[in-house]
Amino acid sequence: MNVDALLSDKVKAIPPSAIRRFFDLANEMKGQVISLSIGEPDFVTPWAIREAGIYSLETGNTHYSPNQGFIELREAISHYMKRRFHLQYAPKTQVVVTVGGSEAIDIAVRAVINPGDEVIIPEPCFVAYKNCVLMAGGVPVTIPLRAEDNFVLKPDQLKAALSEKTKMIMLGYPNNPTGAVMSREQLQDLVAVIRDLPVMVLSDELYAELTYDPASHCSIAELEGMAERTILIGGFSKAFAMTGWRIGFACGPEPVLSAMNKIHQYVIMSSPTTAQDAAIEALRHSHEHITPMRDEYNRRRRLVVHACREMGLGCFEPLGAFYVFPDIRSTGLTSNEFCERFLQEEKVAIVPGNAFGECGEGFVRISYASSLENIREAMVRLKRFVERNSPK
């Protein structure tokens, strides 16, 4: 029997990763290299949060929670969104607790997209966006963002990508992999383009707490008329270093959240109970937990940006997440060649930019979610590598 023939066409349509070879190589060399290739915090979850998880287990809180998540957690999320981002969500009807931001993205897309609907996806971006759309039967319409625009989506680019079939626009700021953020004014320009159109915005704000601009993060949902058409994805993974707990959330207009919850209840049932209890503690003292980590990321960020510029790699100021996205075209190498050779010759792993969309070609993603010692050593090796590979 040809089992391949039994596979779903949708799954078969998902293209293989553009950096599969690099992936294999990096896995082979794991443990022998400095990894600046990891999109998760190097910090362990703050002890007070871990302790809340332990206490939850100790007291026997090992059962299912309500489908949407414990009401205490939804209330805490609602307060937090109000306190931090001036957004109002009713805990009972406009919040669902999910298995990480990834689940939230998937069920948001599936709740809204019919086969043939177009979804606008600015690239480079997190790899799941496009594939979630494909699996929902939607049509991804990608927009290649430009380094000269600091990888911000421009209103004219958005206008050109819109069609009668556009159902959704996916925004991921602060951005993985570029570290770009969008200011209130820049978002306002986008809102002017879509205000009268029947489209939803999916705003992935997993990195909202990790911004290094004195004007802190602005959510597109804060802008006039946008709360009712924005699905906001938030989470605990990045800000609270809780990736392995698998816990995130979505907030948005009641009809969409209610539709998302329909999918969530049959696919997931409810998010992990221990993680929910830990997340309540995380939000209760969010400022104390986040500030020391954010300050540390900011210092590392400055070191990496400074080092890249010193060695002649073009690099805009990334004001969010924990990535720097330098331009490596001056070396004449492709992103894949650059990263494979850098890994083999200097034993440092960074990610080819084209992993995040074709327009990421010519760039590499350096994660500074790694210790200061690792970063210092990696920058010495990067400088050596770039010097060796620069045209004379």
Binding site: F23, A26, K30, S37, S370
Partner: protein, 162 residues
Amino acid sequence: MNKKEEILSLLESNAKLSAAELAVMVGRPAAEVEKTIADLESNKTILGYNAVINWEKTTSAPVTALIEVRVTPQRGQGFDHIAQRIYRHDQVKSCYLMSGGFDLMVIIEDKSLKDVAMFVSDKIAPLDSVLSTQTHFILKKYKMNGTEFHSKDEDNREAVVL
């Protein structure tokens, strides 16, 4: 935290950071950071740059003891004079005035248990203002000055996470 305090806290956790690196990390010009550090050194805010060493990994691990000392404060000098008579000894690594059941906490390092015991009975206990001493030997160091002694530093994250 202002820039000066940020520099202090960075140096406290890693005294090997150069002024140039610190300048990049806190986002200020190198010359300004150099001057800040020089000022902090000259006004004795920064008193020294010490390494945190696990002597257990060497052949000359000293014995460390914590001595609780009860003393009679002296007229006009409080505890300072007697504290000074104690902390001037090279064996004394730290000395603190405490609230609670005793007055001075003295941390001593010496070559052997016997040396520590002799030091206490010869140099501290006989002092006029000392009422009593109680010696506690430190058996194992778990964490000192913010540094864990036995933590595993391995990175068990996946090789690549997109």
